[in-house]
Amino acid sequence: MLPGLIAVMTYLAVLSAASGLAVYNVTQGWSTDLAQSMTVQIVHQDRDERERQTEAVLELLHRTPGIVSAESLTDNDLIALLEPWLGSGNVSDDLPIPALINITISSEIRFDSRALGASIIQIAPNATLDDHQQWMGRLVSLSKALESAAATAVLLIVMATAIIVVFATSARLAAHRETVDIIHLMGAEDLMIAREFRHHFMILGFKGAAIGFLIGLVTLYAISSLASDLGAGFLPRLALTGTQTILMLSMPFLIAVLAMLTAWVTVLRNLAQTI
């Protein structure tokens, strides 16, 4: 019965931990990409004025240290961006489209986007610089909330597992009370008795954790396969770093250790109440 319960708990812990790590890794990737890119948008009805301001901004950007590249999007690029919403061939020539400049900045220096924004406005009054900070801030908040939820779930699962082991240990101790009393009277020390229980619950804990872990891996593999069937890039892949992989693989062992220590402490606390 106990290995079954521990298997369920481990399964839930694997899924929670994997979701938390996936969210963390994906948002890490996105925010790194976004942190290295900015966009300048120039909105003006007059095409010539728009192009003049675009050239001026491009010239400024090429002179600015820390900017790796700055490229203006062509008309075709802009139409391609609008077509998913307006339909193919529906973007008319007289539709006022803002000019967009994609900027890639160096990851090696801390870039002052506010100063750059001020300089751009001086030479191109209709230009705005978007450094994605607002969107990134929301993304980071959402990611942190999801990671905290996953971590809380793992913590609650660990606590529930410990409580289950406390009850199981107390039940086993009650079932073997007579034996424990006899060897106690024969001079067995508390640690000797607790050691027997510790070993027993470590084995049970590991059995349950290994089963739950394997089922969890199969589930994650199945989800990962279904996600990749939907097309690359639509859903993030669960790619773990080396440390994260070690952490996940050590989960059955950590749960076995948790069961072992919980049983050990439970027995010692129980025995301390006898003479």
Binding site: L185, M186, G187, A188, I275
Partner: protein, 209 residues
């Protein structure tokens, strides 16, 4: 706190001495033995064991004292999940003895108490007399400093009772202080020992040897 089971009891067991503890059922013999084998602490009064005041002994100090005491329980209290030889080996294992020597010693003692052919038997398959002999073998195997036996010959025939008493006497000769609680007057008459008589929780007589 419940009513006091034992009162007005004062005696001393000299090292290496032999005593019978007798009295009617309910006189407090088992309660007195429980104090002596450290299953209980006195609610008041002074119990000194191996020169130490029981009340001042800390909990973690008790196991080493308990290992110096061999007990034959009236209801045997054998471990049903262990074989006869493992039951007998237990005190030596708890004392940290070497496995091979423990088993040899246990087998030798089991043969001596007539259980040579029941080494691997589980206690629940043994008769009352066999269980009693097994319980006695377990109590004496570690050559305790103090041996306490509660009706140790109640379930065996007179011939085996005599043989077991001989075992207690031999153990006593090598220095084990022995206290045997019994109703059996034949047993008491056959062995020269001091007799402690309890009645209604009080020590009513102490006939020295």
């Amino acid at each position: 706190m419940g009513a006091e089971v034992l009162q007005d009891i004062s005696f001393e067991l000299a090292p290496g001495s032999f005593h019978f503890l007798t009295g009617p059922s309910g006189a407090g013999k088992s309660s007195l033995l429980k104090l002596l084998y450290l299953a209980h602490r006195p609610s008041r009064g002074l119990v000194t064991i191996f020169g130490k005041n029981l009340a001042s002994l800390k909990r973690h100090e008790l196991p080493s004292y308990r290992r110096r005491i061999g007990v034959v329980f009236q209801d045997f209290r054998l471990l049903d999940h262990l074989s006869a030889v493992d039951n007998v080996s237990l005190p030596l294992r708890l004392a940290g003895g070497v496995d091979e020597m423990i088993t040899d010693h246990a087998k030798e003692l089991l043969s001596w108490v007539g259980l040579g052919d029941r080494m691997e038997a589980r206690p629940q398959t043994l008769s009352g007399g066999e269980k009693q002999r097994l319980a006695i073998a377990r109590a004496v195997i570690a050559r305790p400093d103090l041996l306490l036996a509660d009706e140790p010959t109640g379930n065996v025939d007179p011939e085996m009772a005599e043989r077991l008493m001989h075992l207690f006497v031999e153990l006593n000769k090598i220095g084990t202080t022995t206290v045997i609680a019994t109703h059996d007057h034949n047993l008491i008459q056959n062995v020269p020992a001091s007799i402690l008589t309890l009645s209604k929780g009080k020590l009513i007589s102490h006939e020295a040897l």
